[in-house]
């Protein structure tokens, strides 16, 4: 396989990274809402949130992707393949990251919140100064692990025609018959993309532990 073909495949990394990063960022924000609804003081909100989370997790991501791309188009809501991928993965990421945040909240302990309230902190201050810093520390490794999962899930976007890496490798495989080279090449790129995130997570975790002196 010549260099220009490999270069063509490698350029797909832009789409792969764009889908992963955008969905992750939207999901990281949406997750706050999901976690908030899951621990809401109002029972109906908790029940609905739980139902939505369970429903989204019980159906494979590929099915949601097809519902958004093919299904909604039929109802008149047309999205480009790239938009469909972002919408689908952002919603799924909100759910999974929301559950990760909820786990972090549970680990925080009610004492922190009670103490903050007793010294008269406002709700935004409570969230930004007390809850967020502590929850971020406990959940950041899980978030990074989820991010790597999202990177791998982004390959699904190839099925609806987003020209990311897997899509391009598939094109090349069909045109040249050199599928092993093409897919081994993208495989290596996926590994190279996820490796630094793994290393960073471990460092970030170590640094935070040092800073806050927790075992």
């Amino acid at each position: 396989m010549d260099a220009s073909t490999l270069w063509y495949i490698a350029q797909g990394v832009v789409w792969t990274v764009a889908i992963t990063v955008l969905s992750f960022l939207i999901g990281a924000l949406g997750g706050v809402g999901v976690a908030g609804a899951r621990v809401s003081a109002r029972r109906p909100i908790r029940i609905v949130a739980r139902g939505v989370v369970d429903l989204i997790r019980s159906v494979p991501p590929l099915v949601w992707l097809f519902i958004v791309y093919f299904g909604l188009a039929e109802l008149g809501l047309r999205f480009s393949p790239f938009q469909s991928a972002i919408i689908t993965f952002a919603i799924i990421a909100s759910v999974y990251l929301g559950e990760i945040y909820r786990g972090g909240l549970a680990a925080l302990g009610a004492g922190q919140i009670e103490a903050a309230k007793s010294i008269g902190l406002s709700r935004p201050d409570l969230l930004v100064r007390i809850i967020a810093p502590q929850v971020v520390r406990t959940v950041s490794p899980s978030m990074a692990t989820y991010g790597i999962g999202l990177l791998k899930d982004s390959a699904l976007a190839s099925t609806i025609g987003v020209v990311e890496m897997t899509f391009r490798a598939n094109q090349v495989a069909q045109n040249t018959g050199q599928g092993l080279t093409a897919f081994a090449f993208v495989g290596v790129i996926y590994l190279l993309l996820s490796a630094p995130v793994g290393i960073w997570t471990r460092r970030f975790d170590a640094r935070l532990r040092e800073k806050y002196l927790v075992a």
Partner: protein, 216 residues
């Protein structure tokens, strides 16, 4: 779009569900025993064995399953090895399941305290018997819930076999969609088919987890 037509779609997807279940069961039946072997061999004293297992596990977990599927289905023909859709899917899913399960089993084996091994040594059990009668039963209790959870995830992932024309649920749904142009209800039917398996299965796993952790 009435409910009876929609229910007809669900029924048309059921043969695909059976195919998806078959793929899941075969891959797990091959992948989990392989994972136990990997989990033991990854700490092998022989370095090349350790490296080979490590590469197998890291590649199995690090590549998108979609890429693994394509590697077998579209990659091997480059070496003049042509596999059927089912064979390619079984290879890819077994590899993936084995890789993830290796990590689960390895951490479960490690979580059995060193005191257990010392005690087994003290009463004169051989290495093999220690593993068989002391370590493994305790590790199994920890490993079973996450392994069952992984099984549900693998079942969901069978939807990916759609890309290599294995006639599971999504393949059938896509075909039905292009035939009827009712993509929205058809894919909702596919979602219902998956959920009807995963929701009860998840509830079951939660129940088993509670039971197994009762005396821990």
């Amino acid at each position: 779009m009435d409910l009876i037509t929609w229910f007809g779609y669900v029924v048309e997807l059921l043969p695909g569900l059976w195919k998806a279940v078959q793929l899941t069961v075969i891959s797990l039946a091959l992948g989990y025993p392989l994972a136990l072997l990997f989990a033991v061999l990854i700490d092998s004293k022989i370095a090349p064995i350790r490296w080979i297992i490590l590469v197998l596990v890291e590649v199995g977990r690090g590549l998108p399953l979609l890429v693994l599927l394509y590697l077998f289905y579209q990659g091997l023909p480059q070496l003049s090895v042509v596999l059927s859709a089912l064979a390619s899917a079984v290879w890819a899913f077994t590899w993936s399941a084995a890789a993830y399960a290796t990590e689960i089993i390895r951490s479960s084996l490690r979580s059995v305290g060193s005191g257990q091994r010392e005690a087994a040594n003290a009463i004169g059990l051989e290495d093999r018997d220690q593993f068989r009668y002391v370590i493994l039963p305790q590790a199994a209790r920890i490993a079973i819930p996450p392994l069952l959870g992984l099984a549900i995830i693998m079942f969901q992932l069978t939807s990916l076999a759609y890309v290599i024309a294995y006639s599971e649920v999504m393949q059938s749904a896509y075909f039905l969609g292009t035939k009827t142009f009712n993509y929205f209800p058809v894919f909702l039917a596919a979602a219902a088919v998956y959920a009807s398996v995963t929701i009860p299965a998840s509830a079951l796993v939660t129940g088993i987890e509670r039971r197994l952790s009762r005396h821990v």
